[in-house]
């Protein structure tokens, strides 16, 4: 249950923070969540990772579907990811997940080491 709540909070604040601050500000929110709602290191990482991964996956899928892949195909050619929208979406989500996961891990370890 705690895991789910943390995951949802990560996603919620991870969505809200970049509306007002830099694109990476979700790292700060994920860190703070992990600091205050304590879980073991692995669970903290996983919740932090999954929360952002799913958020960015969800957001990009909605955007990309509404756009019928027009832009994602072009960017996936440019980066280059051989024009695969899906690969681009997964990499996007992975980046959000990893930053958030490590931020959450840091938060979890910071609390236990106190």
């Amino acid at each position: 249950m705690k895991f789910i709540i943390v995951l949802l909070l990560v996603a919620l604040l991870g969505f809200a923070a970049p509306l007002y601050f830099d694109w990476w500000s979700f790292a700060v929110t994920s860190f703070i969540i992990a600091l205050f709602i304590h879980q073991r290191a692995f669970a903290a990482f996983l919740a932090g990772f999954t929360g952002m991964f799913l958020l960015w996956l969800f957001l990009t899928l909605i955007i990309d579907n509404a756009n019928q892949h027009i832009l994602s195909k072009k960017i996936a050619q440019l980066l280059p990811l051989s024009g695969s929208s899906l690969l681009l979406i997964l990499i996007t989500a992975l980046i959000g997940g990893l930053i958030s996961g490590f931020a959450a891990l840091t938060g979890s370890l910071a609390r236990r080491s106190r």
């Binding site: 830099d22 694109w23 957001l59 756009n67 832009l71 072009k74 960017i75 996007t92 930053i99």
Partner: protein, 822 residues
């Protein structure tokens, strides 16, 4: 232990953010800030426009004085209904920015020699600093400053420019970083505020594109190696079958300013063997920049009303140069192709008339060799005196590097383009100043500003009378039944061959002695033949015109258009569509029989004969599936290089282009014998030898094309519409379509009819148009390149000068924006 884990994890987090928040270097290129770029909330995803997007809203700005309603039709063309004119210009600025901000901004960086500011000194194999230096030294900023001065002295135009600029900035100010067009995110920079100076720079850029072409250095080199007879044969001033634009009335031979060459012209100019080669290859506009336009009178049309057609041939890019709009104000109601970057409707029509432009092709750019006292360039020798030069410092900002400054000496002629710091490849330590008509103060935008509200023939003449450079052929037709065309511009009155070669800069007698008076530039108005037309050819018959007209005139398109229009009656819009998209090759009609006569058929083997056979069966049409068109194009190019290559490659210096019509004239007049012999061999080659060898030499190319399955003309030519940054993913590549140089439907590899328009001036105007692009400049929009297929197929969209209530009731509309005073 845990503290180490914590620190390590924190470091990983920070490192990830850091690396994803900076531009990384990847094989000479910079990546975007990947984290920012990929974030669905800030990055490129924000530009992925939903395909069912609509464009609605209510916007309030303090600069507005009334209400303006904008309806987007099903092709995303805005129809703007403003209560007062300046509000309309504000809204045009806002809409240009909304759909084309990055392009507008980027084009003015290019025009002003500022690309290094955003691209760095070089990127992806392109040396941007070199490009910037070229445009600075050419005096583009200097020219734009003068243009701005003229624009701002024209009160109604200044008000329009101010409103336009405010509109662009209102849009820019409404954006946060996540809303920037995707190119800003890719290159990691921000839009800068728009200014009237940016509009002036953009207009000058168009001026460079259309009046910036010359081959003066190349011709100077050719003159050094060729005899005068050879030179005149290669670059003939007069050709046969000339179809000038203005045939009636002929220029009245009064008010002629007599121009005489200086007394020492033979020794100092014609016989002076001078060679020159800039170390930095000059950047030239595409030589094929040109256009077709014509108007047919009611006497020749089925409806009994005039029809006007225009298709400007320019570089084909995405986002497109053009943006379609209707602007309706109490002062005028106009529809057409607008240029993003200034308040205008450039080529279009209004309630009463239609107008179009083709390029005059006149060469108004010359070079003078200046003798400075010393390398400080403070004083130069002029009419037996030392004269002071002004120094102009152009500071070029370079991204992530120190600024670079170009110190440019300004002389009576203009800026010194080539000096010791921007040298000649031959290290001749010479200085060359550029005299360019585009440097003079003039107000082209003001002319266009008046033309789009013209109600009749006199308004049209008055409007264009102030248009000086780049010279244009303005075609006109109105509902009253008038048709007209004028070769308009301020052209120097020059003596024969003046300015074709570098001129001495220490002698004022080599200056342009004046300008051709307007009475010698007559307008052709309602001619008996029932049509007027232009396709960048000679404006007047050069055999009778009292002045030399240095230029890069085109030849076959105008001839074919006149031949077609002469024979047509009961003309309909569909006939005009057929003519505008015509692929017939008139050069081939003239040249092919001649070349085949000189071909030694017995010398061809079976493979070679196969290709000859293709040519003999060819219907002379350059359509996409034509194989003959490919063979012909290669053969003509090869003939030019076999006949003239040996003479012109006597030096490794740049040489001028030889036109196929010049070669044809040489062959027919037997003057090709001046060149036929290959001076590098012991035998004496005949024309037959050259033409046969030319044919044999193209066979391997054809065989390879056949093997690669790109033999057919459309595939061989491989047309494409490229993104301004040459990003393949943002470009429309491999457009399989016919066309070519000298073809009416002049689609080249990356160049061609950039806007096709046909306007029948019936009571309810019957108009059609298409351009190879789309209304949105956003690569993530479905409206980015959605017109290209229609354009490729030679089809058109019906275009409408709607009344407000007509479009308001349309169900297919893509939205409505309301602008009002806050």
């Amino acid at each position: 232990m845990r503290i180490f884990g914590c620190i390590l994890s924190a470091l990983i987090t920070i490192a990830l953010i850091y690396v994803l928040n900076i531009q990384l270097s990847l094989s000479g290129n910079k990546t975007p800030r990947l984290g920012f770029f990929l974030s669905p909330q800030t990055g490129f995803w924000q530009s992925a426009e939903p395909i069912n997007e609509t464009f609605n809203g209510e916007l309030k700005f303090p600069q507005l004085s009334g209400k303006t309603e904008v309806y987007f039709d099903e092709r995303l063309v805005p129809h703007v209904y403003a209560e007062n004119e300046n509000d309309a210009w504000f809204v045009q600025g806002y809409l240009h920015a909304k759909f084309r901000l990055w392009q507008m901004d980027f084009q003015t960086y290019a025009a002003g020699g500022r690309l290094s500011e955003i691209m760095g000194d070089s990127s992806n194999g392109t040396n941007f600093l070199k490009i910037d230096k070229f445009f600075r030294r050419l005096g583009m900023v200097y020219a734009a400053e003068k243009s701005l001065h003229a624009m701002e002295n024209d009160a109604p135009l200044k008000a329009a420019c101010d409103a336009y600029t405010a509109g662009v900035n209102a849009y820019i100010n409404s954006l946060s970083e996540k809303d920037y067009p995707v190119e800003y995110k890719l290159l990691n920079y921000k839009p800068e505020p728009w200014t009237n100076m940016k509009s002036a720079l953009f207009i000058k850029y168009m001026g460079w594109d259309l009046a910036g072409y010359e081959q003066d250095f190349e011709k100077t080199n050719a003159k050094a190696f060729l005899s005068r007879a050879q030179y005149e044969a290669l670059f003939p001033y007069v050709l046969d079958s000339i179809q000038p634009i203005i045939t009636d009335p002929l220029p009245r031979l009064t008010h002629i300013l007599s121009v005489k060459p200086p007394a020492n012209v033979d020794s100092i100019y014609f016989n002076y063997k001078n060679v020159v080669a800039p170390a930095n290859k000059p950047i030239k506009p595409n030589k094929e920049n040109g256009s077709n336009n014509w108007a047919v009178a009611g006497s020749k049309t089925k409806s009994g009303r005039p029809i006007l057609c225009n298709d400007p041939h320019l570089g084909l890019n995405l986002p497109s140069l053009w943006f379609e709009m209707q602007i309706s104000t109490p002062n005028f109601n106009s529809y057409g192709a607008t240029l993003c970057g200034a308040p205008n409707v450039l080529i279009g029509f209004n309630d009463n008339c239609a107008w179009g432009l083709t390029n005059a092709e006149r060469d108004v750019k010359d070079y003078y060799e200046v003798k400075f006292k010393d390398s400080t360039m403070h004083q130069y020798w002029f009419d037996s005196n030392w004269r002071d030069a002004q120094m102009r410092n152009e500071i070029i900002k370079i991204r992530n590097k120190q600024n670079d400054t170009e110190h440019i000496a300004m002389t009576v002629w203009g800026p010194v383009m080539y000096d010791l710091h921007y040298p000649d490849k031959l290290n001749s330590n010479k200085y060359y100043a550029c005299r360019w008509k585009a440097h003079d103060e003039s107000n082209e935008l003001g002319a266009l500003f008046r033309l789009m509200r013209a109600k009749n023939y006199n308004d049209y003449l008055n409007a264009i009378s102030i248009f000086k450079c780049p010279g244009q052929n303005f075609v006109f037709a109105d509902k009253a039944g008038d048709i007209a065309i004028k070769h308009q511009g301020e052209f120097p009155a020059v003596w024969f061959r003046q300015g074709d070669f570098l001129m001495p800069g220490d002698d004022s007698s080599y200056a342009w002695q004046g300008y051709i008076s307007d009475s010698l530039q007559p307008v052709m108005h309602n001619p008996e033949r029932g049509f007027v037309s232009s396709a960048n050819q000679y404006p007047y018959d050069p055999r009778i015109y009292p002045y030399y007209m240095p230029a890069y005139f085109s030849y076959y398109r105008g001839w074919l258009i006149n031949r077609s229009l002469s024979s047509m009656q009961n003309i309909t819009v569909d006939d005009m569509k057929m003519l505008q998209t015509n692929f017939y090759n008139l050069l081939a009609e003239n040249a092919l029989p001649v070349l085949i006569t000189y071909l030694d058929i017995s010398a061809l083997n079976n493979d070679e004969s196969k290709y000859l056979n293709l040519l003999e069966k060819w219907n002379l049409v350059n359509d996409a599936d034509s194989k003959g068109a490919t063979v012909f194009k290669l053969w003509v190019d090869s003939c030019i290089s076999k006949i003239y290559g040996d003479e012109l490659s006597q030096s490794s210096l740049p040489m001028p282009t030889i036109e196929p019509q010049a070669m044809l004239k040489n062959i027919l007049k037997d003057s090709a014998k001046l060149f036929a012999d290959n001076i590098n061999t012991n035998e004496t080659e005949s024309l037959n030898d050259d033409i046969t060898a030319a044919f044999k030499s193209i066979v391997p190319v054809l065989e390879k094309a056949e093997l690669d399955k790109d033999f057919e003309w459309g595939k061989f030519k491989d047309s494409h519409v490229s993104h301004l940054l040459k990003i393949p993913a943002f470009s429309h590549l491999h457009v399989n379509v016919g066309g070519g140089v000298n073809i009416i439907n002049a689609i080249g590899a990356n160049h061609g009819p950039s806007w096709r328009m046909i306007v029948e001036l019936t009571d309810d105007i019957n108009a059609y148009g298409v351009y190879p692009g789309g209304q949105s400049g956003n690569p993530g929009s479905r409206y980015y390149d959605n017109f290209i297929d229609t354009w490729t197929k030679g089809k058109y969209y019906k275009i409408h000068l709607y009344q407000k209530d007509e479009i308001a009731s349309k169900k297919t509309s893509l939205g409505k924006l309301i602008f009002s005073k806050s």
